[in-house]
């Protein structure tokens, strides 16, 4: 005859957390300027009569950056469905049909990835592993 259990066994409850630690934003190298009481950037003094030179240089740079980014994003769009050759570390070359990228361009979704050890129907390539890629539109 089995002895009945003396009572319910207490299951340890995991300690609750408010949230998970925040990770890198994937866009910048961090070090937010408002952290740790960093001094605000000094204002560039404007002498009377001189044109608003510093401002327009900044906005021209910003415009150039925006144009380059738009060209890059369009190049990614143009790549969709095409065969792309990737150069990875250690002299590894793979080819695949490009599917999509994620918001931060951290991963490429590809199809029919030809690798030295076989063909992968679908795969995610980590962009940090890619040294270069090329395709013919």
């Amino acid at each position: 005859m089995q002895t009945p259990p003396t009572g319910p066994v207490p299951v340890p409850v995991p300690v609750p957390v408010l949230r998970l630690p925040r990770g890198p934003d994937g866009l910048s190298r961090g070090f937010a300027p408002d952290a740790r009481g960093a001094l605000p950037k000094p204002q560039v003094p404007q002498s009377p009569g001189s044109p608003v030179a510093p401002e327009s240089l900044e906005s021209r740079e910003q415009q150039a950056r925006a144009t380059l980014r738009e060209r890059y994003l369009r190049s990614l769009l143009a790549m969709v469905g095409h065969q792309v050759s990737f150069t990875l570390h250690e002299g590894v070359h793979v080819t695949a049909r490009f599917g999509a990228t994620d918001l931060d361009v951290a991963n490429f979704y590809v199809l029919q990835l030809q690798t030295p050890i076989g063909v992968q129907a679908e795969a995610l390539l980590r962009c940090s592993d890619i040294i270069a890629y090329t395709f013919k539109p």
């Binding site: 207490p10 299951v11 340890p12 409850v13 995991p14 300690v15 609750p16 957390v17 408010l18 949230r19 998970l20 630690p21 925040r22 990770g23 890198p24 934003d25 190298r29 961090g30 070090f31 937010a32 952290a35 740790r36 009481g37 960093a38 980590r126 940090s128």
Partner: protein, 308 residues
């Protein structure tokens, strides 16, 4: 109600995390730096693990990383044959110190005026950070690559570990004072200023020595090869981790194993208590850092104690 440890996983690195260090306690809290084989050491808020920034510039795996006491400067040691000093507030690179081989370890003096480096060229170097152009002072004597070098005894002495020896050097005379020999590879070393204790791990052993005389105090054996161990600031506990992917917590006085945790997906390379002793951080081959509570169930950082 029994509570189970909830480790906090800090992601972001893409390769094994090989070293980590905490700063002292500053008016902004305390901070944590992690060295990674992906070449991109990261700074995090110490009590939450929140990412603050990534130090960009090294061209090879970063083997060692440290912060100065007030977390205003960081230093890193890398496989690109350089050590770098960084502004830990802005993330900017302040200095690149060229070496002749892989650099493995860096340590600031208490006043942040000098940086100690050591690596595969078997030389200890002392850089005056106020005179970055000046040649460093060099101490030779190690017969294998230096894995860890630390200032001790109020920066009057230096402790350094190579494959099978730990040596104590006098800073002023730059000569060897004493050495310890091991028949197994020394995997890690930690110096506790209050009490002048040196924590050394080799094989499955976690050994405690006087940092002043190198005399042994006590040692414990773990169930698996240990890569790193850390002693709690109040010297009540020690934590250790190694090749079996688990973290062990022992009572320092009795040597009794109190807790052990699975969680990492690879060997643990480094483990350190925070300066206030409330948590400990572990870095692993799996590319993550994990934060663990010293007292499970206490409200601290992101952990929130909920009463039934």
């Amino acid at each position: 109600m029994a509570m189970r440890q909830t480790p906090l996983t800090c992601s972001g690195h893409t390769r094994p995390v090989v070293d980590l260090a905490f700063s002292g306690i500053t008016p902004y809290g305390y901070f944590l730096i992690s060295a990674c084989k992906d070449g991109k050491p990261m700074l995090r808020q110490g009590d939450t693990g929140d990412w603050i920034g990534t130090f960009l510039g090294h061209k090879g795996a970063v083997w060692g990383a440290t912060l100065n006491k007030d977390a205003t400067k960081a230093a890193t040691a890398a496989a690109d044959f350089t050590a770098k000093v960084w502004d830990a507030v802005s993330g900017d690179e302040l200095m690149t110190l060229a070496h002749k081989h892989i650099v493995k370890t860096v340590d600031f003096t208490q006043d942040s005026n000098y940086l100690l480096t050591g690596g595969q060229d078997k030389l200890l170097r002392i850089y005056d950070l106020n005179k970055p152009e000046a040649e460093p002072k060099e101490i030779s004597g190690h017969t294998s690559g230096i894995k860890k070098a630390l200032w001790c005894s109020e920066d009057k002495q230096i402790l350094s570990a190579d494959d099978k020896t730990v040596r104590l050097w006098d800073h002023a005379t730059m000569t060897e004072v004493k050495s310890l020999n091991f028949n197994m590879s020394v995997s890690s070393m930690e110096y506790i200023p209050e009490g002048e204790i040196l924590v050394i791990t080799y094989g499955r052993s976690i050994a405690f020595h006087s940092a002043v005389s190198l005399d042994p105090i006590k040692s414990f054996e773990a169930p698996a090869t240990i890569n790193s161990a850390s002693l709690h600031p109040e010297k009540e506990f020690l934590v250790a981790g190694g090749e079996d992917f688990k973290l062990y917590k022992y009572d320092y006085n009795s040597g009794e194993e109190l807790e052990s945790y699975k969680g990492h997906f690879g060997p643990i390379h480094c483990v350190r208590f925070s300066p206030d002793g409330e948590l400990y951080a572990s870095g692993s081959e799996d590319g993550t850092l994990r934060l663990w509570q010293t007292v499970v169930g206490k409200t601290y950082g992101l952990w929130k104690c909920v009463l039934p």
